[in-house]
């Protein structure tokens, strides 16, 4: 933990780093209606102009497609080497992001923003590369066609009949510093095309005839112009907002896009993005999680991709659990104050014409809400909706339902001998209820039908035939079927609701538990163990926490060979998720999520799939995100606790240091002055009587001894402060330490009488002998300074329980202070302004030494007079000593 304490210089470095990072590069997009309008040309011209002004301009990647005029423009600009890659087995070259980051250009030209990178590159898309360049503070010039804009993708696909797969999120376009429209009237473009001056990508080349119709070009041009106009409009608005202090804000409206888990719904998200951008409102994509859709893996994946698309386009995504779609949506809309709802209107055949459509129900329930209906073509995803396993599952449940009905028939046939036919009906109803509860709605409905059939066939006259003699049984059948269906539906709903509730409850309680455990964590180890203990079982994946050290390098908190530190570091540096299942470095085995807290990114949570897949349903992802924020908050909290403690310690240390300096400088100067003066006296005066000379020499020695004691104390204090308290503990005999201390203090204490009473059987104590000796010397020193020479100094020791008591006492004048404990504060002396030397450091040092040994020291006045210092030291378990095999003969051979 200690290693993570930042020192001020490191902090300063980090702040500088942040400041540097915040200097984001500027993005200029050269925007055109379609290929051939001259974007690359305009872009290179602009770059050259900047180069002429002295800016370090480089070409990141530009495809000239062999056009002469363009090639001439690139001539003067240094071009970065491309990276050789193998895409789909074919060797190819790709934009080298790392090279570009390292090259040190102020501005880079990176053509074709919508390009999809060769598999194996760091990012899936070139616009992500550009983002990273911008983050690194490099300005970028790039080119983009209108059909590659995400939100316009559908419209343009509809107009020109070609759907482009390479799209760029609108937020990149909107966040660009500058957008330059490169415009060419359609007729000019057509003539350029006919002159062969336009290079076309393969996909469009095929559709050349269709694509370059005049009508298409006009439409594309209009879209491009309008999109740029929108941007200019929003620029103006931003300017107004930032320059007028009291602009009236429009009420915060919310646009809500309601989706189901179907590929076709991605269009809704794109439309939503466009509309939200137009209306300048926030927007949210909502999916109602109906309980009986819970197990469909395919749907879950689709939903996740919709959620990611929505978040990528700047929306919030919410997966709201609920039974009834209309009610749940309305509830949510009211709660979030959404005024406009976008709903897909499926164009396929309606299966249940009698039921009101979703939009009708919403409109009826709340006429205030604005509804926007968008036709979603019933294009089913290429993958079949139901996986084979699911189908088997249904077949199995239907089989079980059939068997159950068969069994009921057998039992009923036997019971019919005793009971009436009406009871048999009840028996069948019960079977339907059980089947519905256990196996779901479809099996329930099947059981209802089958039961009616069985009842008719086996029990109604004429038996073993579906014909019915008594017409009133027709009524019985109808009632029985209706009741069975209703009960079955209710039972199935009950079951699924219980399941939803259980799942929700599981998530909520898991999150609550994690939050609770994290809130009590005050050490990194505790957070690590929460991650292991609580988060790991939640997702069935291994979770490893990585935290940065002082130099912002990530270190895993536990060793695991599967962690790819370079990916983790990237995710940390860019505060973006990376690894498996993301758009960045997705060849990695694990998923790396940044732990964002309010002040900084505090680390990375690595999720290692443990045999199973990574958490991929939106609920799990949200739960995971919630876990990440909790962990990030906990990490941030311990960080600040450390900073606070550190500051406190530093302040205390500062105070102490200042007091020490002033006291020490005084106490060092006094003996030094005396020594110097006395030595100079010896030096200068020729004829000093022998006796005086001896006196002077003795004084010098006494002063030097005083200096020696002071220096010893300072050295011990410094050692304890700098090394923390590092004790060189060994099992020592107390009498040896006392003896050694007394031997050093006898000259000082003389002529006071010294009494020791140390029992012969005192156990060994585990102490740092040099420091305990220092304590005793300081106490003797104290006694020598503050007691008259006639007094007695006594040292006693005794053991009581698991404590060793040691007392150093004298019969001097006693303590001058009311509160003896203040004696142990640094620089406190019993008598102020006395001539007795010393900085009041001795007792303070004693206290720190004894405290470091886990003991205590206190002073008390003796009756009738004198002072006693009592030291308590904890007794450990002394090491074993092999008992000596007593061989009397060896010692006393004569006995």
């Amino acid at each position: 933990m200690k290693d993570q304490r930042p020192d001020p210089d490191d902090l300063l470095e980090a702040v500088k780093g942040e400041a540097h990072r915040s200097k984001r590069g500027q993005l200029k997009i050269f925007f055109g209606a379609c290929a051939g309008v001259g974007k690359t040309f305009a872009m290179l011209q602009a770059a050259r102009q900047l180069q002429a002004e002295g800016v370090a301009v480089g070409i990141g990647i530009v495809e000239t497609h062999g056009r002469k005029d363009t090639e001439e423009l690139t001539a003067g600009l240094p071009e970065l080497p491309r990276k050789a890659m193998s895409g789909n087995g074919r060797p190819t070259t790709e934009f080298d992001l790392d090279g570009a980051l390292a090259a040190g250009y102020k501005l880079l030209v990176v053509d074709e923003l919508a390009h999809t990178n060769v598999a194996g590159s760091r990012h899936a898309k070139r616009w992500q590369d550009v983002e990273e360049l911008l983050d690194a503070g490099i300005d970028v010039y790039t080119a983009l066609n209108v059909q590659h804009l995400d939100s316009l993708n559908d419209i343009i696909g509809g107009i020109i009949g070609i759907r482009v797969r390479e799209t760029v999120p609108d937020r990149i376009f909107d966040a660009a510093t500058d957008v330059v429209l490169v415009d060419l009237p359609p007729d000019d473009l057509l003539s350029r095309l006919n002159a062969g001056k336009v290079y076309l990508p393969v996909s469009i080349e095929r559709a050349r005839q269709n694509f370059f119709r005049r009508g298409n070009l006009i439409a594309l041009r209009e879209l491009a112009l309008r999109r740029v106009a929108d941007r200019v409009n929003s620029d103006v608005r931003t300017y107004r907002v930032s320059h007028a202090i009291k602009t009236v804000w429009p009420t915060q409206e919310l646009l809500m896009v309601c989706v189901s888990a179907d590929r076709s719904q991605e269009r809704l998200v794109r439309e939503g993005a466009r509309l939200a951008q137009r209306l300048q409102v926030k927007w949210i994509v909502v999916h109602v999680d109906q309980p009986y859709h819970g197990d469909d893996q395919q749907a879950r994946e689709t939903l996740l991709s919709i959620a990611l698309a929505a978040q990528g386009a700047g929306a919030e995504f919410a997966n709201v659990p609920g039974q009834d779609v209309a009610e749940t949506l309305l509830d949510f809309a009211r709660k979030r104050n959404a005024t406009k709802l976008i709903i897909g209107n499926p164009s396929g055949r309606r299966y249940m014409a009698f039921r009101p459509r979703l939009q009708e129900r919403i409109a009826r329930a709340d006429p205030e809400i604005g509804l926007i209906l968008l036709g979603v073509d019933g294009v089913r995803p290429l993958v079949k909706r139901k996986v084979a396993g699911e189908r088997q599952n249904y077949a199995w449940s239907l089989a079980v339902a059939t068997v159950a009905c068969g069994l009921t028939t057998t039992v009923a046939a036997w019971l019919l001998r005793v009971f009436d036919l009406s009871n048999i009906v009840m028996l069948f109803l019960m079977t339907v209820v059980f089947v519905a509860i256990r196996l779901g709605r479809l099996a329930g409905a099947w059981a209802a039908l089958f039961s009616v059939g069985c009842f008719n066939f086996f029990f109604v006259e004429p038996t073993l035939s579906f014909t019915v003699a008594d017409t009133q049984y027709i009524f019985t059948f109808a009632l029985m079927l209706a009741v069975a269906l209703v009960i079955g539906q209710l039972a199935a709903r009950l079951r699924s609701e219980a399941r939803v509730a259980r799942a929700g409850e599981r998530r909520a309680s898991a999150l609550a538990r994690i939050a609770r455990e994290l809130s009590s964590a005050i050490k990194l180890d505790q957070i690590v163990s929460v991650c292991q203990g609580a988060i790991t079982p939640l997702f069935g994946a291994k979770v490893v926490l990585l935290v940065p050290d002082r130099k912002e390098r990530l270190l895993p908190t536990q060793d695991d060979g599967l962690i790819d530190l370079s990916v983790a570091q990237w995710a940390f540096d860019h505060t973006q998720e990376a690894g498996a299942g993301t758009q960045t470095l997705n060849a990695a085995e694990a998923l790396y999520l940044p732990l964002r807290a309010s002040m900084a990114t505090r680390g990375i949570l690595a999720i290692l799939p443990d045999g199973t897949a990574l958490p991929n349903n939106p609920d799990d992802r949200r739960l995971l995100d919630a876990c990440c924020s909790s962990v990030a908050l906990a990490l941030e909290r311990i960080h600040f606790v450390e900073v606070a403690q550190d500051t406190l310690v530093r302040m205390e240390g500062e105070k102490l240091r200042n007091a020490l300096l002033s006291a020490v400088s005084h106490d060092l100067k006094t003996p030094l002055t005396a020594i110097r003066g006395l030595a100079e006296t010896l030096e200068r005066s020729k004829d000093i009587p022998e006796e005086d000379r001896n006196d002077i020499a003795r004084s010098i020695r006494v002063q030097a001894d005083e200096l020696k004691r002071l220096v010893s104390n300072l050295l011990d204090l410094a050692r304890m402060q700098s090394e923390g308290v590092h004790l060189n503990k060994e099992w020592h005999s107390l009498s040896e330490i006392v003896g050694s201390a007394l031997a050093q203090s006898t000259t000082l204490l003389r002529p006071r009488s010294i009494r020791t009473s140390l029992p012969a059987d005192l156990p060994l104590v585990d102490v740092d002998a040099a420091l305990i000796e220092r304590v005793l010397i300081n106490l003797f020193d104290n006694a020598a300074k503050y007691t008259p020479s006639t007094s007695t100094v006594a040292i006693r020791a005794a053991v009581s329980g698991d404590t060793m008591y040691m007392v150093v006492e004298d019969d001097g004048p006693g303590l001058p202070m009311a509160d003896p404990d203040t004696l142990f504060e640094p620089f406190v002396r019993g008598k102020k302004e006395s001539s007795i030397p010393g900085v009041g450091l001795g007792l303070a040092l004693c206290r720190s030494i004894i405290a470091a040994h886990g003991g205590s020291i206190r002073a008390e006045a003796r009756k009738p007079k004198g002072t006693a210092f009592e030291i308590r030291l904890p007794l450990g378990a002394p090491p074993e000593i092999e008992s000596e095999t007593v061989n009397e003969q060896a010692a006393h051979p004569d006995r």
């Binding site: 099992w731 330490i737 000593i881 007593v886 060896a890 006393h892």
Partner: protein, 242 residues
């Protein structure tokens, strides 16, 4: 009788000077060297009776010098060290030094240590003892019969206590490190178990010292080792004092 020859290895001029003045006043001849290199040469050519070596030398480590010189010089070596060099002191003693003085030290202390070392080396070089009985204070030990008496009363020692006492007697006047004593008395397997020696020293002091907490003969050198001081060897088996 020749003057005892003392070799001082110390880089601080003032310390060298007062040590030389004190020793010359005692009638010894003193050679000064300031570096380990010079000391090596002088230790061979001057044939000193005693070397005083500072542990912190400008051109090398005092311990290394001691270890090297110990191979061919039998004269006692007295080490000078600063207070915080506790482990260095132990290492120097283990390397072959005989005693140490902690800076700052006084002249009387220095002279006492020098005299003790010279006396001791004289005894050893003089060869065998005529009488097996040695004494310190009121304690008499018969090394042949293993009899120990204190104020003429027999004292019972366990075999290990006796072995420890004889080890101290053999190295009397010298500082014996915990390690050296443990190896000597208990064997190599016990070299790190210094608590053994503390227990047995306490027992010896109880049995042999007048005031065990302020011992006069079985002296503790805290965190370094022990020394036996004040050992009297009967007339006839020691050289005359210089």
């Amino acid at each position: 009788m020749n003057k005892p020859r003392i070799l001082i290895v110390e880089d601080e001029a003032d310390i060298r000077r007062f040590v030389r003045m004190a020793l010359e006043k005692e009638g010894m001849s003193v050679f000064e060297t300031t570096t380990a290199e010079e000391a090596r040469l002088n230790a061979g050519s001057r044939k000193p009776d005693l070397m005083i070596v500072d542990l912190g030398l400008p051109d090398g480590d005092g311990k290394a010098l001691i270890r090297e010189v110990r191979n061919w010089v039998s004269a006692p070596i007295l080490v000078l060290s600063a207070r915080e060099q506790e482990t260095e002191k132990v290492e120097a003693l283990d390397a072959g030094a005989d005693d140490y003085l902690t800076k700052p030290f006084g002249v009387p202390e220095l002279l006492a240590r020098v005299r003790a070392q010279l006396r001791r080396s004289g005894t050893i070089s003089n060869g065998s003892t005529t009488s097996p009985v040695v004494k310190f204070g009121q304690v008499a030990i018969n090394l042949a019969t293993h009899e120990v008496t204190r104020a003429n009363e027999p004292v019972h020692l366990t075999p290990n206590e006796f072995r420890l006492l004889t080890a101290l007697i053999r190295g009397h006047g010298k500082v014996l490190t915990h390690r050296q004593l443990l190896m000597d008395v208990w064997g190599p397997g016990y070299a790190e178990r210094s608590h053994y020696i503390r227990i047995y020293m306490a027992q010896l002091r109880q049995k042999l010292e007048d005031d065990p907490s302020q011992p006069a003969h079985l002296i503790t050198e805290l965190q370094v080792g022990y020394r036996l001081s004040g050992l009297e060897i009967p007339e006839g088996n020691r050289t005359a004092d210089p």
